[in-house]
Symmetry: C2
């Protein structure tokens, strides 16, 4: 027959199925039996190939994040090399960080929107081993990008930049994960929002691209917003009085 089950087939079929099921039902909500059943492999296959359920989840992410974060570092390298020592523009940095991720959503071979949604949801999963795993995977990348933002916005307090990086990650994660979560809150199908005919499958490729185009301006607007005022805050130390942030092109 056409589909011989070699080792690689089994491993990757498990990974693909687990990626989708973890996205749909969460880590704790997805049992090994459901995974192996959907992948049409034996129940013991997961423990044989990966060792444990935790290790399976880690591998699901590792095979995507390794590529993603490598691309992110490379993108930043190219930008900085091209800038020849000058600070980058915030828009460039955001494009390198978020754009690289969102472009994964356009390519099914890289996990497509399934992986993006899984990523967005899993970042808030409370399980300890998940958090420590992400910490390790992201440490390098976040650090490089943080420094780049510090240089790009020398007049903004570093703490403020980190907060806004926080906010931006959140906006992105929700926008991705919420494709079928928060639509329920806003009462709109994401297809409607995209102006699609809202067919059965709105072609993740297109979805990811539209999402990127709507998200990037929002993030930039937030990143460059005027600094908070801190009126009547009971004192502690820092005088973080508002200096205006370079807010070019802020249109009504």
């Amino acid at each position: 027959m056409t589909d011989q089950k070699t080792t690689l087939d089994t491993r990757e079929r498990i990974l693909d199925v687990a990626e989708r099921l973890f996205m749909e039902n969460g880590y704790e909500g997805t049992s090994m039996r459901v995974i192996t059943g959907a992948a049409e492999v034996n129940l013991a296959a997961v423990n044989y190939h990966f060792g444990s359920k935790e290790a399976l989840l880690r591998e699901v992410f590792r095979r995507r994040l390794a590529w993603l974060n490598h691309q992110r570092l490379e993108a930043l390298d190219r930008l900085e090399e091209h800038a020849a020592g000058a600070p980058l523009k915030p828009s460039q940095i955001l494009e390198a960080f978020f754009g690289t991720l969102l472009r994964m959503g356009e390519d099914p071979a890289l996990g497509g929107m399934t992986f993006l949604r899984l990523l967005g949801r899993t970042l808030t999963e409370p399980a300890e081993f998940i958090r420590t795993f992400f910490a390790g995977e992201y440490a390098q990348v976040i650090d490089r990008y943080k420094l780049a933002l510090f240089r790009a916005l020398p007049d903004v307090p570093k703490a403020e930049i980190v907060w806004r990086l926080h906010f931006m990650l959140g906006a992105m994660s929700y926008a991705i994960a919420g494709t079928d979560v928060l639509q329920v809150v806003t009462g709109c199908e994401v297809g409607d929002l995209a102006g699609e005919g809202a067919d059965a499958d709105p072609s993740d490729t297109l979805l990811a691209r539209r999402l990127a185009q709507r998200l990037m301006p929002f993030l930039l607007g937030g990143l460059r917003a005027p600094l908070p005022q801190f009126h009547e805050l009971p004192v502690t130390t820092t005088d973080t009085r508002a200096r205006a942030v370079p807010q070019d092109g802020l249109r009504p």
Copy 2:
């Protein structure tokens, strides 16, 4: 003795404990035995008072969300009455929606930051009954606020407003939930970010207030960002060619 265990005591002790544990370990990650154990009540107490674990989670949210969403609607009522027919300012709307929520974080009697964190995390939980529950709880409020934003920003396409409402909810949820989630990604304690001495308990009250002051400008900046360009959007299908990381040219 001082602590007599009346019915109300048991019910509320369960709710308080469940609120905290669901926040720390998630819904699926928190067992009835852990809940009842921490609340020092019998295992059967949850099923007796609430009927099921699902019903317990719903009640945990209902007792807070009922108050919150009522406040939100009242805040909007007050604003619109005061405006006497004129459209509200976006900043007023955001303040009424997000400010009301964030002010809950300052009051331990309303759940404090524990409830806020739980809310932020649970919005991404994939369980079906959770999503449908939130949909019902939020429908009214979201609808009123959406309309207010439509009126406040008549020149912005409605779809764009809904998207940005999406983004704002995400930024807020992450900022709240991430108090100990994404710090691990950004490598900073939230105490550090706030400029605190980072004592044992940074006094949720203060934390919530600082968070609000940093979040609101970000949200406003994002909401009023220039509209996306939609340049060269291919009409139909895939063409998944990854354009190389886009470069320098990107001029804001």
